[in-house]
Symmetry: C2
């Protein structure tokens, strides 16, 4: 039977190995929905992820905290309520601020490969 609602905190937090102080909860997985997966990332204060590329795009929404996101050759400071679009194959990195950074990250159910650039 389809699970329609995932209550806050009901999904396991997984360590993101390519990051520092970064965990991810899969809220709606590629196995549960036909077209895209819904994940929540939590970065500790001053945590983040180094510059990398993915094959697939990310669509994100900042829930809490603040941080610096570098996308291609542009640098953005993001805070709660901002939306972020990172096309596939465009380099990006995350650096959480002093209160950490939490965001939703939606990705298509397509093959991905992460390539670290630094």
């Amino acid at each position: 039977m389809t699970e329609y609602v995932r209550k806050k905190g009901s999904r396991e937090s997984l360590e993101v190995k390519a990051g520092q102080g970064t965990t991810m909860q899969v809220l709606i997985s590629a196995e549960e929905a036909p077209n895209f997966a819904f994940r929540k990332f939590v970065m500790e204060p001053h945590g983040g992820m180094p510059k990398h590329t993915n094959l697939i795009e990310h669509e994100q929404y900042v829930l809490k905290g603040s941080g610096i996101i570098e996308i291609g050759d542009e640098v953005f400071e993001v805070t709660a309520g901002d939306a972020v679009y990172i096309p596939g194959n465009v380099s990006h990195s995350y650096q959480a601020g002093k209160e950490g950074l939490e965001f939703i990250c939606v990705v298509p159910n397509k093959e991905d490969k992460i390539e670290l650039l630094e």
Copy 2:
């Protein structure tokens, strides 16, 4: 040039005609991204949407407030931090609580049709 970041409040709020006291901001549109669109819904206290179906699925995340969502023949109370998966062709309705209800709603870039059921 690709717009990577949409700062909070920078996108127009559009009235959702099928709803009551409900507006939507398109944060990342079907024209801007290849696979899915990212929208934010804001329902006033006691606003909502009547029972309806869509052809396409919804993946949602509650940002603020609370509300009652009926999906198929199940009824859920949702609050900030809950994630909701509504498959295509499954009836659903929203009733915002006394503080209103705000949520992200992601939909695939596929043909949709809304059918009101009441």
